[in-house]
């Protein structure tokens, strides 16, 4: 495989893996919670690194996922007990965890790969250089493997718990009354979001993961009234964004993850304005039409 093919492949897998749970983050209105998670998992990575002293240890992933889930739990506990809004609770937890992580890195891990820049702006361009080899046989880039596994997990979760995700998102009280514990589904989703965030760290960096999660899902949301279609459209847009993002990044010789994020932002805005169902342009058009019709009616009345 050529390098650009490998990078494109990784980009697509990362984009789709992020976009899938993103659908439910957008529908549940917890995109900012996921933004917090994608940053606070860093604390988990750092802590696990201090224990293992090995950047490739799977413990890093487990530690990070745990901290991600702890983030959700703490945000929700503060919100409930102190009666502050969710975004205020995020404003407390997110900077706390994140800055502890940054301080730990600057104090103790200054000379390893764990530097702030790499963490904030991971880079797809280097992803193909970390490879998996089994008995000397090159099995392809490590991040492709990791993210493929996460992608499959996310897809299976949505496939098997589709009904449960749908009902606990749409009407949690009713779901609870029927015996579908919304709490379980919620934390399962948030665990996967954390895991996805950790997996995507290397290639995308924490700033952009949220864009990968929210952008395509928001476009999907604006384009259809059916949840199944929303999921398909979201995946499709994630693929288109990442493929064209990689091409553009090579063309302009710039950051790949950054370029995909720009394309994602751009397509989302495009959909926001031109969506045939709920777009701003359509709304304007409808209003104009309605006004004309009304004018006519009023004229015939007078």
């Amino acid at each position: 495989m050529s390098m650009i093919t490998e990078i494109t492949l990784i980009a697509v897998v990362v984009a789709v893996a992020c976009a899938l749970p993103g659908v439910f983050l957008v529908l549940r209105g917890v995109t900012m919670v996921s933004d917090a998670i994608t940053h606070t998992v860093l604390l988990g990575i750092v802590l696990a690194f201090f224990i293992t002293q090995d950047l490739n240890s799977p413990l890093l992933m487990i530690g990070a996922t745990l901290v991600g889930v702890a983030t959700v739990w703490l945000i929700e506990t503060i919100q409930r007990s102190a009666l502050v809004s969710t975004d205020a609770a995020i404003g407390i937890v997110f900077p706390l965890f994140f800055s502890i992580a940054i301080i730990l890195i600057t104090l103790y891990a200054g000379d390893v790969h764990l530097d702030e820049d790499a963490v904030l702006m991971g880079d797809l361009a280097f992803a193909p250089f970390r490879r998996v080899d089994v008995f000397g046989l090159d099995m392809g880039p490590q991040s492709l493997w990791v993210m493929s596994v996460i992608l499959v997990m996310n897809a299976l979760f949505i496939f098997f718990f589709y009904k449960e995700l749908k009902i606990t998102t749409f009407d949690p009280a009713f779901a609870a009354a029927l015996g579908f514990t919304p709490m379980i589904i919620h934390y399962a989703l948030m665990t996967l979001v954390s895991l996805t965030a950790v997996g995507a760290y290397d290639s995308v960096g924490s700033i952009l993961i949220v864009g990968f999660m929210v952008g395509p899902a928001l476009s999907g949301y604006l384009l259809t009234h059916s949840l199944k279609k929303m999921i398909s459209i979201t995946v499709l847009i994630a693929v288109v964004n990442s493929v064209s993002g990689v091409q553009l990044a090579f063309f302009f010789d710039t950051t790949i993850a950054g370029m995909i994020a720009v394309v994602t932002g751009f397509t989302t805005l495009l959909v926001l304005v031109f969506s045939p169902r709920k777009g701003l342009y359509k709304q304007q058009l409808n209003q104009k039409r309605a006004r004309k019709l009304l004018d006519k009616r009023i004229k015939t009345l007078t």
Binding site: F170, A177, L178, T224, M230
Partner: protein
Amino acid sequence: MKKESAIQIDKLTVAYEAQPVLLNISLAFKKGKMTAIVGPNGAGKSTMIKAMLGLVEPVTGEVVYQDVDQEAVSYKELKNRIAYVPQNTSVDWDFPTTVRDVVLMGRYGHLGWFKRPKNKDREIARQMLLKVGLPSFASRQISQLSGGQRQRVFLARALAQEADVYIMDEPLAGVDMKTEHIIMKLLKQLVAEGKTVLVVHHDLQTVEEYFDDIVFINQEVIAAGPVDETFDKQTVKKTYHRDRNLGEGE
């Protein structure tokens, strides 16, 4: 332990924080009857229902249901046999889902985890939508419905549950005459099939026309029994003119 009534509330006390909202409520709801739950705003009607459904934790007391074998069971064991339409359905109206889909959700409880709705479930959902008079709205996104139409969609969802007990918190609030008739006709049908129906109701004019039994509530049970014996001016006055903070005032 066998119980005659479909639902039995025993010495139920509910409080939000330190403030008691319901005090020592004991009631029995008869099977195959339509019971009105009546009381002023803030009387604790919705709270009582929530306590019956395990949505709020009571301070003391218990609620016992009767299952098909007439054994006494708790709410948990009977979940799928109870349909509840809350006073304010707090769903996300912009959720990408259609009217048909929402009604189909009424079947989820029967399916349990993992399993998907089958054709039989879709057929039941279709019939219930027909019953509430909204078949032509099946493919609509739910935000594109009027308040009264929304009420009916959630009624259809409750009907799709094919439960034994139906608990409706003000199903007639803000609906027009025609919709009120549709809803009452459906509830009467349920009662005729032997199901137990509880309705929180505010319109005292229609109590005698619609209901078999009535429960007057204002923090405590003021009166309960068959409408023709219990429903009179004095009881109404007693229920509505009670100052909650001073006890029996007037």
